[in-house]
Amino acid sequence: MLECDALEVAYGRVIALRDVSLRVQQGQVVSILGANGAGKTTLLRAITGLERPRRGRVLFEHREITHWEPADIVHRGISHVPSGRQVFGNMTVMENLRLGAYIRTGDRRLAGDVARDMDAVLELFPVLRARVRQAARTLSGGEQQMLAIGRSLMARPRLLLLDEPSLGLAPQVLEGILGALQRLNREHGLTMLLVEQNAHLALDFATYAYVLETGRIVQSGPTSQLKASDVIVQIYLGLKH
């Protein structure tokens, strides 16, 4: 479904990603593990057009989307929940969710679909329902994360990219969010690519994982295999291969 082919991204002279290739198959949950600064966020940003790769290609459903504008990539079916949530703080929860469906709200015939999706998102994250008229900046961190995910789902993506959804959240809140994501994958077959610093979480949640270290993929495999190896120790202690 998604294929990254020898991607290279640089900020000036600093190379953030080097020769990164990966594949995500339809219906899969894949995670990218790595320490802080390994290039995880950059990788997601390169996929959704927020960074311009210097080399390499990104293919989505067999079509090349390298160098496309972020807005066009959303239209193709990839939705990105950015790191730090990035909800529109001065706008209400309802407005944020409606903006999530921006690519569909231009067409009146889809109004019914959008309303149903809004309901489904509020069903998935019931705490948001009581807050629909509240400005997003007044929400707690967990609620903002739910809103950011809900906003992304409103675009009806076929592939969801998640950038560190666990950041700064209490364990119970995180559990609720992960449960919701798992349901989306099982019941709706939503494909996900998750970036995580919390390796335990990433390995439990995904079926396949890649390990990034200073901009390169150093290991990959089914999470059941990675769990048995010493990959977590390597990530945390930064041991060389």
Partner: protein
């Protein structure tokens, strides 16, 4: 102070202030969506006034001349956006952007001088030169047009931003351009629309005010200064602040012109601007600051 005089000053202050408010709203919309402080803003006020005069001289009905002037200015703004804003927005520092927009301002002024000459030119009032007596004060019918026009514009903008898809896209882009792109908003197009809307508001202010003041190619800078002062006074980046700042500046000028001397009103605007930047850089309602 005589109550009658005070009422008169208040009326003229609110009239002038609502023009400043509309210009300041233009500043705010452009700044929020593009990050550019548009020091050419006042030139669009001037340009619309002179264009309306020119179109009336071609025997075009006044209402059509007013609409035509605003449309032409909108077209000019779109071209200027493509040539000067798109290459620098979100990339250049404030200093570069100020230099570029000042360059545009000077260019527009020179073009206006070449096309329309150096004379101040009058535009007829929309519906005659009558005046209405309110208690102890009088207000011209054109001033009522200004007040009504400004009120309609503000209400229209409120509805646009709160109720329409395009308005919401503009607000989202202003707040977080990257997140706006990630929900599918074409932020470069939004930037263009916001620039044209902001400059178009300046043009609307121009056709409303020209019957009272006449139009001359040098007047743009004054409107830029007053609009900028109004926006800063209210709180840069806040539309509500732009309206409050515009009205406050208009009232301040009217009362100082009435009680001190009309020669000091521009000085008052500048002193108010400097004072607000020194003591309350966030403005009356705002929390944002420039830079």
């Amino acid at each position: 102070m005589a109550a009658g005089e005070a009422l008169q000053f208040a009326l003229s202050g609110i009239t002038v202030g609502s023009v400043y408010a509309v210009v300041a709203l233009g500043f705010t919309i452009v700044f929020n969506a593009t990050g550019v402080v548009n020091f050419a803003q006042g030139e669009f006020v001037m340009l619309a006034g002179l264009l309306a005069v020119w179109l009336v001289a071609l025997h075009i009905p006044l209402w059509a001349a007013a609409v035509g002037a605003v449309l032409i200015v909108a077209g000019v703004a779109a071209a200027i956006h493509a040539l000067t804003v798109r290459p620098i927005e979100r990339r250049a520092g404030h200093f570069t952007m100020i230099m570029v927009t000042l360059g545009v301002a000077i260019m527009l002024q020179v073009i206006a001088q070449l096309l329309f000459g150096t004379e101040a030119q009058a535009l007829p009032s929309f519906t005659g030169d009558g005046a209405i007596r309110i208690l102890t004060a009088t207000i011209t019918v054109q001033a009522l047009w200004i007040l009504g026009g400004a009120a309609v514009l503000m209400a229209g903008l409120y509805l646009f931003f709160s109720r329409t898809r395009a308005g919401q896209a503009m607000l989202a882009t202003a707040e977080n351009r990257e997140a706006a792109g990630l929900v599918g908003i074409d932020t470069r197009r939004v930037s263009l629309y916001a620039y044209v809307l902001g400059c178009g508001l300046g043009a609307l202010a121009g056709v409303l005010v020209t019957p009272m003041t006449a139009a001359v190619y040098t007047q743009g800078l004054v409107f830029t200064l007053k609009g900028f002062a109004a926006a800063a006074l209210g709180g840069f980046g806040s539309p509500v602040g732009a309206v409050i700042g515009g009205l406050a500046l208009g009232l301040l000028e009217a009362f100082s012109a009435g009680f001190v001397s009309s020669g000091y009103q521009d000085l008052i605007a500048l002193v108010a601007l400097i004072a607000i930047l020194m003591f309350r850089p966030g403005g009356i309602v705002g929390t944002r600051t420039l830079g």
